[in-house]
Point group: C2
Chain length 212, copies 2
Amino acid sequence: MDSAEETTGGYRPWSEVTPDAARRLLVAAVEAFAERGYHATTTRDIAGRAGMSPAALYIHYKTKEELLHRISRIGHDKALEILETAASGPGSAAGRLDAAVRSFVLWHAAHHTTARVVQYELDALAPEHRSEIVELRRRSDAAVRRILADGVAAGEFDVPDVPGTTLAVLSLCIDVARWFNTAGRRTPEEVGALYADLVLRMVGAAPEAAQK
Amino acid sequence: MDSAEETTGGYRPWSEVTPDAARRLLVAAVEAFAERGYHATTTRDIAGRAGMSPAALYIHYKTKEELLHRISRIGHDKALEILETAASGPGSAAGRLDAAVRSFVLWHAAHHTTARVVQYELDALAPEHRSEIVELRRRSDAAVRRILADGVAAGEFDVPDVPGTTLAVLSLCIDVARWFNTAGRRTPEEVGALYADLVLRMVGAAPEAAQK
DNA sequence: AAGGCTGCTAAGCGCTTGCTCACCCTCCGG
DNA sequence: CCGGAGGGTGAGCAAGCGCTTAGCAGCCTT
């Protein structure tokens, strides 16, 4: 099992999870959930991947669902941070949209294992955890919508349906986590560049407008 | 449980499944798989929704996985038919792309319960069933790529990366099944129209070019 | 009326699941 | 040298899983 994709890239993921054994369990859970899905993953599988006995899991986490919640929370925090950073940055709306799509897609491709769990296992969360996460997603939506609205107001974009286009842009980016494969021909950077171009076309912005 | 979305629209879905009890079980399975996912759905749940005992399921299907395979096969056949019909139709490349995206998205929205199972439960299939389905998906990809290549050759489209754009277009359409909600504000037709417009912009076709 | 086929159920088998519990290391301040 | 706390294990429990089997009602044919 290769997890190089999670440890490269300059920043150390999951560094906020301590102690060490809790982090190893969480990383093992991310891999297992991404491969087989939350419901098809057993606590024995997670513990085994982390090199521990099944009982060890319950020293650090109350339930299997708490593990998913921690993963989902940390992942959504990161995704939201990426979008809000791009949305509130300097430069033109086109430049900010380019940066938002590019970095958001880059994250989904480079960390597609994590992203797959974060984006596709929402329904497995307990109701109170689910609504907490849904609120974070609402804020992600708002960040993208703000860029589009700014671009329309500034005359940079031609977007007849801002909420609908916001939905489509986020949907397009999120779905990268489903199909992206490290064995494929494209690097995360290439996919980010391709998608940024496609999205700028969707909003009717000239390609050169993205150069802030 | 309301299944009006599966019975409206002029064509009768699952009519190819007989006898009646087998169809009722299959429809029940579609609903259950879409709501909770394949692995989280029990055979008792499926049988209960169909108003039968758990054992009744095994008269018509050998295993729970065979149910998923039948659903996936029928759904993929329908999806492929929609794309190939549009791809080999008359008219300009822009007109065919418009029709393909519009009808493909319409199907994913109107039958989002079925589409969710078809598009997101692929990994739960047994290896030999999975590769059969993957072949159908390869042909869907080829149908869209053909339209894009035709448009580029005819000078209608400006698409620097045909395989990448094909992937993005299909990904965008497929993901409709994940977020579409009958309680939402948009009708399947409206989403189809919106997405057809967005995709035509992605390939650099003038909106009026779609009018064959 | 008899016989057999079809479609279904009640009961339950063998197994796996999430999770618990009694116990045991290792480290560390006094 | 001790005692307790934190991190770990082996064994196992109750519940739920996919699936099987024995048996039975209703209907078609003869």
